[in-house]
Amino acid sequence: MDLDLLFNASVISSAVRIATPLLLAALGCILCEKAGITNLAIEGFMLMGSFISIAYITKSDGSVLIALLAAMLGTMIYSGLFGLVVIKFQANHVVASIAMNLLSVGLTTFLLQAMLGAQGMIRPANIQKIPNMELDFLENIPFIGSVLHNQSFIVPLAIFMAIALHFVIKKTVYGMNVVSLGESEGAARSAGISVKKVQWSVILLSGLFSGLAGAYLSSVILSEFSMNMVQGRGFTAYTAVIFGNTNAILVWLVTLLFGWAEAIGVQLELAGIGVPSSILKMFPYVLAIIVLIISSVNTKRRKERKK
């Protein structure tokens, strides 16, 4: 197999496109993980975000930009339920996440039927898409060209936010508070950090980011909503956070890796090499599992070295 099939401009371009919602969801998850909250509910948040934006487009004049904002706000409010259960009622994080994911699938399917009158999926005809960025001068530069040219403005926005988050965590008081809370809740409390406030902030922010991720998936990439359309992307994002060791820049690179895995699956299917599509679709998940093993071996070794 020639390498060009795996690394040509269209593969890299679609890898970046697929990686963006993963990265956005992962950003919120990084904050939660730093603050010691296992947030697997981003899967459900993403689904909610993708539903809200399409619902807004269907019910209004179809502006994608406002739909994105609506999705961010709506999902943030929705994530408050997770916060309530986890912070106020101190439920097990994983169990609460599973409940939120179940609830999101149920709620979006129900509202799709009850509010928009559609069974299974909806494709709003009045969608007014935001045109992709036409950066012709970048086209000839090998990597950056395919990363930024002919992409939605959300792609550079997400990358910028990843870098910004990296600095927020490393350099600001808020970031320090989040990190110290994750390291030791008792120490954070005695240092005068309001534990609950920080916990609420990271969960609401993860709702905000995941809402944008879901909205990008449904109304920018696909322009449709279908039942359970997130398909484990939230879990993949969580894997990326674990593998990237909650470092925003590393996490971005890992999401790119996952995006690339999915993109070459599509590419190979189009090229028709005779491998069934369900086997090709497995590739990103298998890659995520391998990546997970490698990262755990690394952390295990690091811990042993410390001893």
Binding site: V85, A99, L103, G106, T239, S278, M282, Y285, V286, I293
Partner: protein, 381 residues
């Protein structure tokens, strides 16, 4: 009270009755479990109430829930039994590792793998084998499910990977693999309509349905499920493994001090859990679908988490909660048939039950902590 007085069939005196009552009230274990049952029932009712309010708020008639549930326990009880069997097994599959504080979110994947193994065996063996072929399929399904569960367990034991993520990711792999097997490898080439399904299994190997409940697909699986649940209860309360599971789950440090190998307990519980999950796969394909259908599993694994959680990981409790969820699930589809309310409400109800019940667990934990402080001992978890 001595045994003799009972044998003589003397009328029980009022004084004795009072004594018995007092003894029950003073027995902490009985009282705790009674309180727990009361709380779980109350929380479930709260969840159903929330759903009914939600329905009313979104313009549906809230008594649709009651209409559906009513039909599920009267006319259409067969359908409830049909759903209760896989839910019971799923609850058991979740509660075995849960008890050892191991999260197995990969029950769905193990169900798929069990079904694949069983289907392959049933299609490969000659038809004349009949029920022996079915037995072979059951064994294959248990082995298939257990081996798939062991992948995640081995990753945890040897590489210390996060079990939650690995089991979730393996679910997707198993689901896609089932699609491949059903639509490609075992595809029915002669079918008039091409769908993601294998050839039909030979009729002699089908798991019999219950004649009493005909024509519904309620099947012998419910007996198998009850038997497996009772065996699990036996393992939990009467064997060394059960003691190890309990200790590793509640106090891993003490377990290590006592010379127990936590890793081995993880491997054992996951293998058992996977084998039980595999049983769901073989029952679903051999009694309900009669072939390997790509989407045969409506995520029983996640439903199993709700079943086990509501039963507080107690196998005897699982019998009751799975019957309840069987009724709820069947009530949902009846509701859709009889009223305008869509079936997906069932899923919302389940999610809200998890939320209310898992919030509830904490109240107990706080109380336990308080009691621990009073006793001054750390072992009362």
């Amino acid at each position: 009270m001595d045994k003799g007085s009972l044998n003589k069939k003397e009328p029980i005196k009022k004084k004795d009755l009072m004594k018995i009552k007092e003894a029950i009230w003073q027995n902490k274990r009985v009282m705790d479990s009674l309180k727990l049952v009361g709380k779980q029932v109350a929380m479930t009712l709260v969840a159903v109430l929330i759903v009914m309010i939600f329905l009313a708020a979104s313009g549906f008639s809230p008594d649709a829930v009651l209409i559906g549930l009513n039909r599920a326990i009267t006319k259409d009880i067969a359908g409830s039994v049909r759903w209760a069997a896989p839910l019971m097994l799923a609850g058991v599959a979740v509660c075995i590792p849960f008890k050892a504080a191991v999260f197995n979110l990969g029950v769905d994947g193990q169900i798929y793998m069990g079904a694949i193994a069983a289907s392959t065996v049933m299609l490969a063996l000659p038809e004349e084998l009949g029920k022996w072929g079915l037995l072979a399929a059951f064994l294959a399904a248990m082995v298939g499910g257990a081996l798939f569960a062991l992948i995640a367990a081995a990753m945890k034991v040897y590489f210390n990977t996060d079990m939650i993520v690995s089991t979730l990711l393996l679910n997707f792999v198993a689901k896609l693999f089932t699609e491949y097997i059903a639509a490609d490898a075992l595809r029915d080439a002669d079918a008039a309509i091409q769908m993601n399904a294998s050839k039909m299994f030979p009729e002699s190997m089908w798991l019999p349905r219950l004649a009493y409940f005909a024509p519904s697909s309620a099947n012998v699986g419910i007996y198998i499920a009850i038997a497996i649940t009772l065996i699990t209860a036996f393992i939990f309360y009467k064997t060394t493994l059960g003691y190890e599971i309990k200790l590793v789950g509640t106090n891993p440090n003490f377990a290590r001090y006592g010379g127990m190998n936590a890793n081995r307990v993880i491997l054992k519980t996951m293998a058992l859990s996977g084998a039980v999950a595999g049983l769901i796969g073989v029952i679903e394909v051999s009694a309900v679908q009669h072939r390997l259908l790509a989407g045969f599993n409506p995520s029983f694994g996640f439903d199993g988490i709700v079943v086990s959680l509501l039963a507080n990981n107690n196998p005897f409790g699982v019998i009751f909660t799975s019957l309840f969820f069987g009724i709820l699930k069947n009530g949902g589809s009846n509701m859709e048939r009889l009223t305008e309310v869509p079936q997906v409400i069932t899923q919302i109800t389940m999610a809200i039950i998890i939320i209310t019940v898992s919030s509830n667990i904490v109240v107990r934990k706080i109380k336990l902590r308080r009691r621990m402080k009073k006793d001054g001992s750390g072992s009362a978890v």
